[in-house]
């Protein structure tokens, strides 16, 4: 379970990106965060993954107060979270296979098991056969899918995706939405942000809307 209690985030420089957000996401639930650019969607997702820390209020994940966790404990928590970054954060000097294998390396998987899982993940996003491709040789949408493969390769308990369909055409966006739905169906908690109406229409899940750093609307689908 993820629980935000009056969580706020002020970035150095003074801007308050998130204000008094109180929100509970149950295990296995799927929630879509929507809102205009600058509303605080990415900030909310980063707080849930322990990538950024709340400046006031608390964020609890699996009963653990993230603000009270040390650096190592946070890192270990992040291993169980698959995160799709809005800006991808792919390594451009590594090929597709190596990019997707990175979380498995960190977790200490054997080469054999890692290779098997990497291929399975690439297959899920339609990139099987592109293992050797360097990210620069991939289109924006393919890079995005590579990023999704890296997020799911470690079979996370929680999948957090920041605009995962942002660069995808309708067909691929639909396929990716279905992929997230399938994770949700096998019990993975899925938290994603989007402002893509087509994807939203396809997502049958709870929806939270942010504006100016506060929650303005909540509804199901």
């Amino acid at each position: 379970m993820i629980r935000f209690s009056a969580a706020a985030k002020r970035y150095p420089g003074g801007l308050e990106a998130l204000r008094g957000v109180t929100l509970e996401i149950a295990d296995g639930e799927m929630v879509a965060i929507t809102g205009h650019s600058g509303a605080g969607k990415s900030t909310l997702l980063k707080l849930a993954a322990g990538i950024e820390s709340a400046t006031s209020g608390t964020v609890l994940v699996q009963g653990q107060n993230l603000g009270a966790l040390g650096e190592s404990a946070l890192a270990i928590l992040r291993r169980r979270v698959g995160f799709v970054f809005q800006e991808h954060r792919l390594l451009f000097d590594r090929n597709a296979f190596e990019n997707v294998a990175l979380p498995l390396h960190i977790s200490g998987f054997s080469r054999h098991e890692a290779a098997r899982r990497v291929r399975a993940a690439l297959d899920k996003v339609g990139l099987l056969g592109r293992e050797k491709a360097m990210p620069v040789a991939l289109s924006g949408g393919e890079q995005q899918r590579l990023c999704i493969a890296r997020a799911i390769v470690n079979r996370p308990m929680m999948l957090i995706a920041d605009e995962p369909t942002g660069n995808l055409d309708a067909d691929y966006a639909g396929a990716i939405v279905d992929l997230f739905m399938s994770f949700h169906q096998v019990g993975v908690t899925v938290l994603l942000s989007t402002h893509d109406e087509a994807s939203l229409g396809r997502l049958r899940c709870r929806r939270v809307t942010l504006a100016g750093g506060t929650m303005v609307e909540e509804g199901g689908a």
Binding site: I51, E71, S72, A75, I76, L77, R78, R79, R80, V81, F83, F85, R89, L91, F92, D93, R94, L102, P103, H105, I106, S107, G108, F109, S110, R150
Partner: protein
């Protein structure tokens, strides 16, 4: 199992990093090895000098040489005077014939000595002293030198004391140079690792975002630093061993007769192993410092 694999991965990554830049890696290891070899060679030279010096007598004793024309009577009188001194522990009379025999036995001058028709050595007393205090020694020396038929009074251990003092000074110099060069090794390895960290900044940051701890990030760099230290240490031992072999060869060629006295003492295997381990540790510590410092900077910049 997981930890073992993480270490194997890190070791593999470190080897890959060395192999990825073979020329740069080779040069840095050469430079480090040469730097470490310098104090090692100095230590070998010093050890050899001391071993050669140890071949000489270091017991605190005074030699009293009589004139060549001294009679047995004269010798008796001198001996009594010497025994009268409270600092004297033991007095041994060395007749000139015995002195010659000893000299012939212990050095390679046998042929030269045999060619002489008269014994050039005087009768002598070897006096073992209780103290080596320079003031009381000087007093005794002047007193004995003034005795009739005494030709010369030599305090042999002054020479060995001087040698020991020089050796101590040498040890300090070698130690100082060793520390300085150890600092240089730390500095060079830290610099090389820092460059590696900087070129891998994106990889480090992404790894941390998806769950790498500081220890995970540090691990391959620590192996890289330790490997460079180990290789440089091994190279230094090899360079010093080559120097020792060369010096031994040259000494033998120059002074074949003195081969037994002038020896080149190289490090014992355990000492060599210790040196390599120590340079490995220095590399590890340097890498640790460099990565930790750089990670703190990255965290601050974010």
């Amino acid at each position: 199992m997981r930890l073992l694999r993480l270490h194997l991965h890190a070791l593999g990554a470190a080897l890959e990093r060395i192999a990825a830049q073979p020329v740069a890696s080779l040069f840095s290891i050469l430079v480090l090895g040469a730097a470490i070899a310098l104090p090692v060679v100095a230590a070998v030279v010093l050890q050899s000098a001391m071993a050669t010096g140890a071949g000489f007598d270091t017991e605190p004793h005074v030699s009293v040489y009589l004139s060549l024309d001294a009679s047995a009577e004269d010798a008796k009188r001198v001996e009594q005077a010497i025994r009268g001194e409270p600092d004297v522990m033991a007095v041994t009379y060395v007749p000139r014939a015995q002195a010659l025999a000893e000299l012939q036995a212990s050095t390679h001058l046998a042929e030269v000595l045999a060619a002489l028709d008269t014994n050039p050595l005087p009768d002598a007393f070897t006096v073992r002293m209780r103290s080596t205090d320079p003031a009381s020694l000087a007093k005794v020396r002047t007193a004995w030198a003034a005795l009739p038929k005494v030709d010369q009074v030599a305090a042999d251990f002054e020479w060995s004391e001087r040698l020991a003092r020089w050796a101590r000074l040498g040890e300090h110099l070698v130690g100082g140079a060793g520390l300085l060069l150890a600092a240089a090794v730390v500095f060079i390895v830290a610099h090389l690792v820092r460059l590696q960290v900087l070129t891998r900044r994106e990889e480090i940051e992404v790894s941390q975002l998806i769950g790498a701890t500081s220890a995970d990030v540090r691990r391959p760099f620590l192996y890289h630093g330790a490997l460079q230290g180990l290789l440089a240490g091994a190279l230094a031992v090899a360079l010093a061993a080559a120097f020792a072999a060369w010096a031994r060869h040259e000494l033998l060629a120059l002074t074949p007769n003195y081969a037994a006295e002038l020896k080149v003492v190289f490090l014992r295997p355990a000492e060599s192993a210790l040196l390599v381990a120590a340079t490995g540790l220095l590399g590890l510590l340097a890498a640790w410092g460099a990565v930790s410092h750089q990670l703190r900077r990255f965290a601050r910049d974010r």
